[in-house]
């Protein structure tokens, strides 16, 4: 809680906004004017945060991935290549934005315009600090899922309107993948909602602050499932089969060039920050950090957490190889989905025990945390061994010959025919 609530108190940027709104109301404006002004301030604020983060992360990500892969990365424009994002943006503005003659012009042009909205709109319900939230929606978590599901359609529109085989393949892959991982995502968020018994994102943050814990400690399985489903949603490299460069060139954005590609690129960052922000709010305590928010502005804590979650995605992009599509779908349906269902059942039972038994939170929550971590570990190991993932598929005792492996050799008859 801020002690001084002056408008210039930077610990809570909501103070300035509410002071302005009070001033407008004092002028005797009709009721809807402060409402609209608040919306505009919120959107401009979120957009500023997202664009600045994106500009800095273009440089940070390229340098980090380069360092992980033993390269140097961009270091020519400005000191340490710091002006590279600006040079990139200028380049994208100046390049010709080609539209194919055989493309569906309307949808082709519509995609770069609307593709930014899901990532941006998701920030409407995410609290940046105490009271620094655009809409305290009491179905906030459901809203986040709904907004994320719209992304599928826009990507499909991009792939279909390009009138290109690779683009259509990428689009169909995205749709199939997002439908599968949406279930996992919903179940992961559901277990968080069950614990808090509110779908308001601010309430989830408040709950974690009140009980001095993070939901990550209580729901390890849900957190991991969400972070993986989020990676699928934003097409980061271990799971970016929708735009796999080595298979289908660039997937749905193969035909986009110039500033239209720039918008698609920006949208990927927006969606990435949105997923990181949801992770930070629901599982990592949002703008609170065990009393640190008394000394440091809440929004600074929140933004730090968002960047740290986003770093995980950069890290996995720089280090992990790409999965095949069948591996990815099997992982969703055979591994993550049953585990998430069991997790929801477990969490529901725990909430029931807590509510019916009337136990103290200090007693019950550590027990739940230990139980959930143990169950999560056991489930992963047991289910993995049931599916046979714990050891390689086959271990040859001696080096195999080509015909034993079953490789098709040109000019030879196919093995097993």
């Amino acid at each position: 809680m801020p002690i001084l609530a002056h408008w210039w108190d930077l610990r809570n940027l909501g103070n300035a906004a509410s002071a302005l709104l009070d001033r407008i109301e004092a002028w005797g404006a009709p009721a809807w004017i402060p409402y609209v002004v608040a919306g505009v301030i919120g959107i401009v604020g979120c957009l500023t945060f997202l664009l600045l983060s994106q500009l800095s992360f273009i440089w940070i990500e390229r340098r980090l991935v380069a360092r992980m892969q033993n390269r140097i990365g961009p270091n020519r424009v400005g000191p340490q290549g710091l002006l590279q994002p600006i040079a990139d943006t200028l380049k994208l503005f100046l390049k010709e934005a080609i539209t194919k003659r055989s493309a569906d012009r309307t949808l082709f042009w519509l995609v770069p315009i609307v593709i930014l909205s899901p990532g941006l709109v998701a920030f409407a319900v995410i609290p940046f600090g105490d009271g620094m939230v655009l809409a305290k929606l009491n179905v906030g978590v459901l809203f986040l899922i709904a907004v994320a599901s719209l992304n599928t359609l826009i990507v499909f529109m991009a792939g279909w309107s390009s009138n290109n085989k690779y683009a259509l393949l990428g689009a169909m892959r995205t749709v199939a993948m997002l439908i599968s991982y949406e279930l996992v995502q919903v179940l992961a968020l559901l277990s968080a909602v069950l614990f808090v018994s509110s779908m308001n994102v601010s309430d989830v943050v408040g709950w974690q602050s009140h009980f001095h814990t993070w939901l990550l400690f209580l729901l390890p399985l849900a957190a991991v499932a969400y972070i993986f489903a989020g990676a699928v949603e934003i097409n980061r490299t271990p799971v970016d089969i929708a735009e796999a460069e080595s298979e289908i060139v660039a997937g749905y954005h193969i035909e986009y060039s110039g500033i239209k590609f720039g918008f698609l690129y920006t949208a990927e960052y927006f969606a990435g920050f949105a997923v990181a922000a949801v992770m930070a709010s629901l599982f990592l305590g949002g703008w609170t950090a065990w009393g640190l928010e008394e000394w440091v502005p809440g929004w600074l804590i929140f933004v730090t957490k968002v960047y740290m979650v986003f770093f995980i995605y950069i890290w996995s992009r720089g280090t992990l190889p790409r999965l095949r599509i069948d591996q990815l779908m099997a992982f969703a349906w055979k591994f993550l989905l049953p585990l998430s269902l069991l997790n929801v059942l477990l969490v529901g039972g725990e909430v029931l025990v807590w509510q019916e038994g009337g136990y103290e939170a200090e007693v019950v929550l550590p027990i739940f945390a230990v139980v959930n971590w143990a169950v999560a570990g056991a489930l992963v190991i047991v289910w993995g061994s049931v599916l046979g993932h714990l050891r390689p598929e086959r271990r040859p005792r001696r080096a195999l010959l080509t015909k034993e492996v079953g490789v098709i050799v040109y000019g030879q008859p196919e093995p097993g025919v």
Binding site: V36, L142, L150, L153, W160, M172, M199
Partner: protein, 168 residues
């Protein structure tokens, strides 16, 4: 429905919803029709928001705009003769006539009926009330719906399974 903002929002959303619903029927390209259908769904969600039904509005976006339209897109992409799009049909004139008649009837009823105008109640949180109702009073329909969906899913899997498919 008294203050200027709500009225403006209502009229904008109505024009979007009805206009794109008309375009769904009018456009030739099937994918364009789906895009207009999504716009119509989103307009309906907006109308729910003006009625303070937040849960229903978000569910509308999630189920209709997010899931049903993807289903329709899949159906179009996997139908062999979908490339024909909306072709000319000899039923055009009768359909137009029927549509005008239905519209006339509904319009007449809407204008003729003696509507009771309710005051706008205070904003209430509906999500938890709906959840409690679904799991206490309406638990049987809820469970029947889930069993129905399960049967539909199993049936779909059975239908697409090739004849004599063996386990991996």
């Amino acid at each position: 429905m008294d203050d200027a903002g709500t009225v403006t929002a209502f009229w904008i959303l109505t024009v979007i919803t009805v206009g794109s619903a008309l375009m769904v029927v009018a456009v030739r390209n099937l994918i364009h029709a789906v895009v207009f259908l999504i716009l119509s769904f989103l307009g309906i969600a907006g109308l729910y928001v003006t009625l303070s039904a937040d849960f229903v509005a978000v569910t509308q976006v999630l189920i209709y705009a997010g899931a049903v339209s993807v289903l329709i897109l899949f159906a179009i992409m996997l139908t062999p003769r979908a490339g024909r799009d909306n072709t000319e049909t000899f039923l055009r004139l009768p359909a137009l006539l029927l549509a005008i008649l239905v519209g006339f009837t509904i319009g007449f009823v809407a204008l003729d009926a003696d509507w009771a105008i309710a005051d706008r109640g205070s904003f209430e949180e509906t999500a938890s009330a709906i959840g409690e109702a679904l799991l206490s009073k309406y638990v049987l329909p809820f469970e029947i719906a889930s069993v129905l969906l399960l049967v539909a899913m199993l049936g779909a899997i059975l239908l697409v399974r090739p004849e004599g498919a063996v386990e991996e």
